[in-house]
């Protein structure tokens, strides 16, 4: 039986006339890995800040572990959120951060943290403000992993990390998650890197949730159809088109929804090429505003 850890309905955050998060509804279940995906400024960090009680929503309802998170110690002590733009006290170095962490996270694993410091080659004695972007990300990743908080947020954990460090993060997260299941929310715009890690996707754009689905369902749910323009158009005529490109007499159209055997046979007869769409491409199609506007127009015309 899974428990609902987070329940948001109509959750809204406005900054003056700008609506950063616009009446979103979603739930997060216990012990799953969520991907909070979207473009820069889509509202990912704002959502996480509300979930962790760092900012106050303007509207809507929000329950984390059964109650409003802000100012509730019994909720907040189960959370860990090191923001991508996390501020640290001026005189702090990474050693100070790791020294203070066990006072705030009751499941803190110091040995695991030490191992991660070694893995990421994080200089412990250098002032936080002197760290490179990647090293700063490593501090957040180490705290997030070693805290073992029942609800852990990783805000753009890959920012500035080199390929080796990204792989280490990926491996350690999976290993530790298997041993100590917990709810993890990972926000990023580097989608393909984490695609295989995620169990459930929340795609957010301009403050709204565009897609809230299991990752397995999403993988392979979209297909790109390529071939002669006329043939492609006839094939996709009654389907949900989410992306469209064309060059001369050739067209390449991305459609949402699975294709059955009959569809595939028909595509082959028409001489069309079918290609699976990666998560990243799918999200580009879903959140690329210009593309979408163009598609709607063409769909109307068709």
């Amino acid at each position: 039986m899974t428990r609902t850890v987070v329940r948001a309905s109509g959750l809204t955050k406005r900054y003056g006339s700008f609506t950063a998060v616009d009446a979103v509804d979603f739930t997060l279940e216990e012990n799953r890995i969520y991907g909070l995906l979207g473009r820069n400024g889509a509202g990912k960090t704002t959502v996480m800040q509300m979930l962790t009680g760092q900012i106050f929503p303007n509207d809507g309802e929000l329950e984390v572990f059964g109650r409003t998170p802000a100012e509730h110690a019994d909720v907040l002590r189960r959370l860990c959120f090191i923001a991508e733009s996390q501020r640290y006290p001026d005189a702090f170095n990474a050693a100070h951060v790791l020294k203070a962490a066990p006072w705030f996270f009751e499941n803190w694993d110091a040995a695991f943290a030490d191992r991660l410091v070694h893995d990421f080659r994080l200089p412990l004695k250098r002032y936080i403000k002197k760290l490179s972007r990647g090293q700063l990300s490593a501090v957040g990743v180490i705290v997030g992993l070693a805290s073992r908080a029942p609800l852990t947020f990783f805000d753009e954990p890959y920012l500035g990390l080199d390929a080796v460090a990204r792989q280490i993060f990926y491996d350690r997260l999976l290993e530790d998650y298997t041993e100590h299941p917990r709810t993890i929310v990972l926000s990023t715009h580097l989608i393909d890197e984490v695609a295989n890690l995620l169990e459930h996707l929340l795609i957010i754009d301009q403050g709204r949730i565009l897609l809230d689905r299991d990752a397995d369902e999403v993988r392979g749910s979209a297909t790109t159809v390529a071939g002669g323009r006329a043939a492609v158009e006839s094939f996709v005529a009654d389907r949900a088109v989410i992306g469209r490109e064309g060059l001369g007499g050739l067209a390449s159209v991305t459609i949402d929804g699975r294709l059955d055997r009959a569809d595939r046979v028909r595509a082959a007869e028409l001489g069309l090429e079918l290609a699976p769409v990666s998560l990243q491409q799918l999200i580009v199609h879903l959140t690329g505003a210009d593309l979408r506007a163009g598609t709607t127009e063409q769909e109307v015309a068709a």
Binding site: G53, Q54, D74, Y88, P89, F92
Partner: protein
């Protein structure tokens, strides 16, 4: 299957409120240079300058008794106070953002920070009041230098020096911290309103006092309450800032 959590979560292990406040104190003390190291380096440097002046004056055969009297008007003993206003500002501006990321509540953070301020003020007050006595005992570090035994210090005994330093120290720390909570909650607009409000309040006070010709009465009152009375007012103001900060910080949002 999905079950909704209707009841508030049950605590897995008992954790007292005191622990949650105390960890904020420890967080501030993780870098002891901020609250203790740098203020005492500033004070130590000021003391060294005074001592060197004393040695030069002595070597030049100047009237060191007169020098000592002149030094009573030096503010060297207060030199770390400006820095400590900045410490109050940073305690809220940077450390709070960090503590919230670590899952502290604003309430516990403010209470823990206040407790830290109290501890710092207590220790500084004990140290300064004791140094005043030492300076008197050694006749100005054997050079007739008057650094700690200056201004209002050294007149009413150890306890008065302790009390006045404690009050001043709390005031200095809380004014920096509480003004920063206004910034965190209302940003620049809040700061402007606060600044203009304070100026308007001060001007209004001056206008009332001048128009009703009550300045002599005010000075007489300050004279009558004495050093201890004045610093009781300072302590009261520190308390007002402490309470004001608590109210404001409850809905403040770190950047």
């Amino acid at each position: 299957m999905t079950a909704v959590l209707e009841q508030p979560t049950v605590r897995t292990e008992p954790r007292s409120r005191v622990g949650e406040i105390w960890r904020v104190v420890r967080l501030h003390a993780v870098t002891p240079s901020v609250f203790f190291g740098i203020p005492w380096i500033i004070l130590g440097a000021a003391w060294l300058v005074m001592i060197i002046i004393g040695i030069i004056a002595g070597a030049a055969g100047a009237d060191t008794v007169k020098m000592g009297e002149g030094m009573r008007y030096s503010w060297a003993v207060l030199s770390p106070q400006w820095y400590l206003v900045a410490v109050g500002v940073q305690a809220i501006g940077l450390t709070m953002s960090f503590a919230l990321g670590f899952g502290a509540t604003r309430r516990d953070f403010w209470l823990g920070t206040g407790l830290m301020f109290g501890i710092v003020s207590l220790l500084n007050a004990i140290a300064i009041a004791t140094l005043v006595q030492l300076e008197k005992l050694t006749n100005g570090w054997w050079l007739k230098v008057s650094m700690f035994d200056s201004l209002w210090y050294g007149q009413g005994g150890w306890l008065v020096d302790f009390y006045t330093t404690f009050a001043l120290q709390l005031f200095v720390l809380f004014i920096g911290a509480s003004v920063t909570t206004v910034f965190l909650r209302w940003r620049m607009r809040g700061m402007l309103v606060l600044a203009f409000g304070a100026i308007a309040l001060a001007l209004g006070g001056v206008a009332i006092a001048t128009l009703t010709q009550s300045w002599p009465a005010i000075f007489t009152w300050f004279g009558s309450i004495g050093v201890v009375g004045v610093f009781t007012v300072v302590l009261g103001l520190a308390l007002v800032f402490a309470i004001g900060g608590y109210v404001v910080i409850r809905r403040a949002t770190p950047r």
